[in-house]
Symmetry: C2
C-alpha cells in the first residue's frame, strides 16, 4: 500500500492521534499516545514521531516512504514557515517552535502544518458529513468549542484566526470563560468550563454522581464518557449543565449562521461525537428560535469521521507534498 500513503497527526492537549492512510484516505494504521504534560516542544515532537512510526508500522509502510505527513495543531500556525507558536495547552510551548523541520528530520518525509479545527472541518467536507456542501460551519464540541469555516468550497481562515465560534458572546457580562473573557459560548458549553462549574456546584452542596463516576472509571477529569454516563443515570446537575450547554450552542451557532448563511453545520468534537445523532438534533432545535431566516435552516449533521477525523484531515494536508 506504499503508493500514495500519507500520515496524519492530530496534536491535542490530552492525546496525540496518528494515522496512516492510503491514496483514498482509508485508514490503514493508527496509534494514540498521551500528550506529554511536561518538558517542551521537542519532547512533544518526539512522542509525535514515535506515534506516527507505530501507525506506519501497523500500515506496513516506512515513514520515509510516505508522500508526507500533515499535522493539525493548536496554537498559531505559520504553514509556510512550518512553525507553531503559543500553543498554550502544550507543555512549554509559549514561544515559536519549528515543528515541521523537527518532525521532518525524524521521519524523513515532508511535514505540513494546519490548524487542528480547520483540518478536521476539511476532512468532514472531503470525506465525511460535509460532502456535497459548498459552505459549511464545523463546530467541535470538546474541552473547548472550536470552529472551522468552509465557503465556496474552500477553507476560510481570515487573517489566520477565523472560526473562533467558541468565543462568540452569547451573554454580554456573563460567565467567565477559560479564555479570561466573559460570556463566550465556551464558558457555557466547553467541557473544561462545564467541569469547573460542576466542581463549584458540587462544593456548594449540589448532589451529583459526576465525580463518583469519574473516580470509579479511574479518571481525573470529567471526560465525554463520564458526562454521557451521568446523563444516562439521570444525574440532575449533569442534565442541567448539558441542557445549558445545548442552549448556548444553539444561540452561538445560530448567530454564526445568521452571519454566514451557510448550507450546513457539522457537529463534532469529543462531546459531539460521544453524544451522537440525538444531540445533533437537540442542537438544531436549540438553534431554531434564533435563526433569522428560520424557514430555511442549514442542515445540521453529526461529524462522520469520529475520533480520527482530525488525524485523517491532517493527512489531507500532505496530498501532493512531493
Amino acid at each position: 500500500m506504499t503508493r500514495g500513503a500519507r500520515g496524519g497527526i492530530d496534536l491535542g492537549g490530552t492525546k496525540i492521534q496518528t494515522v496512516v492512510v492510503d491514496a483514498d484516505s482509508n485508514v490503514r494504521g493508527e496509534a494514540r499516545h498521551p500528550t506529554p504534560t511536561s518538558g517542551g516542544p521537542q519532547d512533544v515532537a518526539d512522542v509525535m514521531a514515535s506515534a506516527l512510526r507505530e501507525a506506519a508500522d501497523a500500515a506496513g509502510v516506512e515513514p520515509s516512504a510516505l508522500i508526507g505527513v500533515g499535522i493539525g495543531s493548536p496554537g498559531a500556525i505559520d504553514a509556510s514557515a512550518g512553525t507553531v507558536s503559543g500553543a498554550r495547552n502544550l507543555p512549554g510551548w509559549e514561544g515559536t517552535f519549528s515543528l515541521a523541520a523537527a518532525l521532518g528530520e525524524q521521519l524523513g518525509t515532508p511535514v505540513l502544518l494546519g490548524n487542528d479545527v480547520q483540518v478536521a472541518t476539511d476532512a468532514e467536507v472531503a470525506l465525511g458529513a460535509g460532502r456535497g456542501y459548498r459552505s459549511l460551519l464545523g463546530v467541535f464540541w470538546g474541552t473547548g468549542v472550536g470552529g472551522g469555516i468552509v465557503l465556496d468550497g474552500n477553507p476560510w481562515l481570515g487573517r489566520g484566526a477565523a472560526g473562533e465560534i467558541g468565543h462568540i458572546v452569547i451573554r454580554r457580562g456573563g460567565r467567565r470563560c477559560p479564555c479570561g473573557r466573559h460570556g463566550c459560548l465556551e464558558a457555557y458549553a466547553g467541557r473544561a468550563a462545564m467541569e469547573a462549574r460542576a466542581r463549584e456546584k458540587h462544593a456548594e452542596g449540589h448532589k451529583t454522581d459526576l465525580f463518583k463516576l469519574m473516580e470509579h472509571h479511574g479518571r481525573t477529569r470529567l471526560t465525554s464518557g463520564i458526562w454521557a454516563r451521568a446523563l444516562e443515570h439521570g444525574d440532575k446537575l449533569a442534565t442541567e449543565l448539558i441542557d445549558e450547554a445545548v442552549e448556548a450552542l444553539g444561540a452561538g451557532i445560530a448567530s454564526a449562521v445568521n452571519l454566514l448563511d451557510c448550507e450546513a453545520v457539522v457537529i463534532g468534537g469529543g462531546l459531539g461525537v460521544r453524544f451522537g445523532e440525538p444531540m445533533a438534533e437537540r442542537i438544531a432545535a436549540a438553534m431554531q428560535p434564533h435563526l433569522f431566516v428560520d424557514e430555511h435552516p442549514p442542515d445540521v449533521r453529526l461529524a462522520a469521521l469520529g475520533d480520527l477525523g482530525g488525524a485523517v484531515g491532517a493527512a489531507l494536508l500532505a496530498r501532493g507534498a512531493r
Copy 2:
C-alpha cells in the same frame, strides 16, 4: 457627462435616495423623496422613477442615456429575476414584485437589483473607508442593524441572506427584538428598539428630553439627529440607552470578528454616520474585551460615503449593464 453615467437608488423604509454618477462614481445629481407609506409596490416604483428622473435632470442626462440603474433594496432579492419579495418595511410589499421590469420600462434603461446593505458595503470597499481591504464587515447602524460581508475582495452572500449581524444573539433570553426573537444585537442597538425602550422608560416616569426634542423639531420619531442632540444636552436616559447600544455593538461585532477574522470593520448607517468618528472609536473600544485575538484587532473605520453610500453603491451594480 453622458458617457458612462449610471443611476443608483437606495430604497429605504423612510426615504428613497437617488443619485446619478459619472464613470468614476462621482455624484453628478441626486434627489430624495419620502417612501410612500400606503399603496403598493407600483406606487413605490413610481416615486423611485420620478426621484431618479430628478437626479438625472440635475446631472444633465436623460434617464434613457444611462448605462443602467442599480437599486439597493430591502427584502429578499432575486437579482436574475429582477424581483423583490417580502419587503416588510414597504407598503403592501408582502408578495413578489418585478421591480426591475417596472422601473426599466419607465426609465428606458436596464435596472439591476442588489441587497441594500450589501451594495452600501460594496460602495465603501470600492470607493470609501473600505478601500484596500480584502476582507471586511460593514455594520449599518440605523433603524435596524444591518451587515454586509466582503471576503477575498468579493461580497459573501451565503444562500442569499448572509450578513445579519443585527440578529447575532448577544444575550440569550434577553430583550425582545423587533424581529420577534430574543436577545439579538438589534434589540439593544437598533433605533426602532431604542425608541420603543425610551417610550417605555418615559411612560414609567424616567425623565428625558428625547420626546420634547422630537416635537420641537417637528418629528414623529426619534431620528438620529434627535438622539445626537439629546446626547449633546447630557440627557440621562438617552446617554444610558446609547451606552447600552455601544456595548451591544461591541459584543456583537467582536463575535463576528472572532468568526470571520476580517481585516476591517466599517461603521455606517444613520446613527453611525450621524455620531461620526468618536463613536466609531467607542465601538472599537467596546469590541476590545471580546476579541479573541485581542492583540490584532481589525481596523474600525467610519463609513466615508455618508448618506449617499447606499445609492452610490447601488449605481455600482449598473457597471457594464450594457
